[in-house]
């Protein structure tokens, strides 16, 4: 071969190698790391063995072989990726995904204990079920169960109690699906104009709390792990907080409530604000005092999702307690659907995106450490 002919041949081989390497990027990273170099070697060796001459027919034959090898490489990549997906699907235990990051997984496990309790307490206080039960037990005429519940309240009232019972029976996935159904039920009930609209901060709070409980129950090891992390003192704190919350609202409404529409619901006004403050206090206390800092920060971030619309509820109640009767337009910031739902949604997206980026960075670092070792492959 002349020097020019040899140079042209070397150039073609180089172009072919580049082309094959580009096609090999279609393969999974692990497969590429293990086999890319030997596959390039095999492809070039096979191309070198082709017996086609320099004629036009020979060139067409070479081009055909090259195209067939390329198509075969693509097919191989698809087969390997397809098999990986199939194996993953076969191995997956449905509804058994948990977050891989240990700190987020632990934070979700804690929330899987706290959120169902809060959901139950929120239902008890919001629908005044505990007041109605206390009224019927004490003979106080102020609250009756039939007056406290409407059709729109049923998803929350039934869902909250069901989720809490299922969570503490250790039926994590069922409780998670129940929490999801509770959220969907509330949204569906709120969508009917005749019923309580979901533009209300109270409904937004319970919808988002149900969603947070569902995510915590479905994507974490569950209440067992959460209780272990909370320790006895933390669990006692959650229990005492819930009891105080429920008990105070019962006391406030039953003992201070007059039941006279002209006089006004003094008990409701008195009980409302401290009860709200207590919910916030329980959240912060539980998260801050019982856990490692990395987990407690994440618990706070997760619980902030439902608490954001609660801030609107709180300032509305504060305004009505200070400046006028409930229902009048005394709130400092009037609540609206975008204000109630967009910030929590944004926070949830930030949490998911942050977790994903952290995982990518961790994978990148692991790859760098792996590739800085001795190379097993030598390319020409």
């Amino acid at each position: 071969m002349t020097e020019r002919g040899w140079a042209a041949g070397a150039g073609t081989a180089h172009r072919m190698e580049n082309w094959y390497r580009r096609l090999l990027t279609l393969y999974p990273k692990d497969h590429r790391r293990e086999h890319a170099e030997e596959m390039v070697g095999v492809l070039l060796a096979a191309a070198g063995q082709e017996q086609a001459g320099p004629s036009r027919a020979g060139r067409a034959q070479r081009l055909g072989q090259h195209a067939a090898d390329s198509a075969d490489l693509i097919g191989g990549a698809l087969r390997i990726r397809g098999r990986m997906v199939l194996n993953r699907v076969k191995r997956t235990r449905w509804l058994a995904w948990t977050v891989r990051d240990e700190r987020w997984s632990d934070a979700l496990a804690v929330v899987s204990v706290v959120a169902p309790v809060l959901l139950l307490v929120a239902a008890l206080t919001e629908f005044r079920i505990s007041q109605a039960v206390a009224s019927s037990l004490t003979g106080h005429p102020h609250w009756r169960l039939s007056e406290t519940l409407t059709l729109a309240d049923l998803p929350m009232a039934a869902g909250a109690s069901g989720v809490t019972v299922l969570a503490f029976l250790r039926l994590r996935r069922l409780a998670g699906l129940g929490a999801l159904a509770t959220a969907i039920g509330q949204i569906a009930a709120g969508a009917v104009p005749a019923m309580a609209g979901y533009a209300s901060p109270a409904v937004a709070f319970t919808v988002l709390l149900s969603c947070t409980a569902a995510a915590a129950l479905l994507f974490s090891p569950g209440p067992d792990r959460g209780l272990a992390l909370l320790t006895r003192s933390g669990t006692a704190l959650v229990g005492v907080g819930a009891l105080i919350l429920g008990g105070f609202s019962v006391g406030g409404n039953v003992w201070f409530g007059t039941g006279d529409a002209d006089v006004g619901d003094f008990g409701g006004q008195v009980a409302g604000l401290p009860a709200d403050l207590l919910i916030a206090a329980v959240l912060v206390t539980v998260a801050a005092s019982c856990l490692r800092a990395a987990v407690s920060r994440r618990v706070l971030a997760l619980l902030a999702i439902p608490v954001i619309p609660y801030v609107f509820l709180w300032q509305e109640k504060l305004a009505s307690d200070l400046f006028g009767p409930p229902g009048t337009t005394t709130a400092l910031i009037p609540s609206s659907i975008p204000l109630l739902y967009l910030p929590p949604l944004l926070l949830a997206c930030l949490i998911v995106a942050g977790t994903w980026l952290a995982r990518r960075r961790a994978t990148g670092r692991a790859d760098q450490v792996g590739s800085s070792g001795p190379r097993s492959a030598v390319s020409a």
């Binding site: 497969h31 086999h35 170099e37 030997e38 596959m39 390039v40 070697g41 095999v42 492809l43 070039l44 060796a45 096979a46 067939a68 090898d69 198509a71 075969d72 490489l73 693509i74 097919g75 191989g76 990549a77 087969r79 390997i80 098999r83 097993s376 492959a377 030598v378 390319s379 020409a380």
Partner: protein, 105 residues
């Protein structure tokens, strides 16, 4: 067992071989009828390795390029032997029904 898998295991039954060696051996065994390409070969090797029928052997560098050798495992050999028995039994039945028993098939 699919034919390419059978031929790859047959090629490796004689001893460890590298990728290009398997390709040329398969072409030889099948009389040029089956011509494996790199994509098909490595997808098959990936599956056979995952199933424990084939394993990586030694590596060497030839002309600046990596060559990895593959060898059949005991499990792979047993699987191939079972397939041979199955094919032989089927072939015998087919030959006897065609009146070729004792003759060449």
């Amino acid at each position: 067992m699919q034919e390419p898998t059978f031929l790859i295991l047959t090629a490796l039954a004689a001893g460890a071989q590298h990728g290009y060696g398997i390709m040329t051996d398969v072409a030889r065994i099948s009389d040029g009828r089956v011509r494996l390409r790199a994509g098909t070969l490595y997808a098959a090797l990936d599956r056979l390795k995952a199933d424990g029928l084939v394993t990586s052997d030694k590596e060497e560098i030839v002309d600046g390029r990596l060559r990895r050798y593959y060898r059949i495992t005991d499990e792979g050999a047993a699987e191939l032997a079972a397939e041979v028995r199955r094919l032989r039994a089927n072939t015998a039945v087919a030959a006897s029904r065609l009146g070729l028993a004792g003759g060449t098939v």
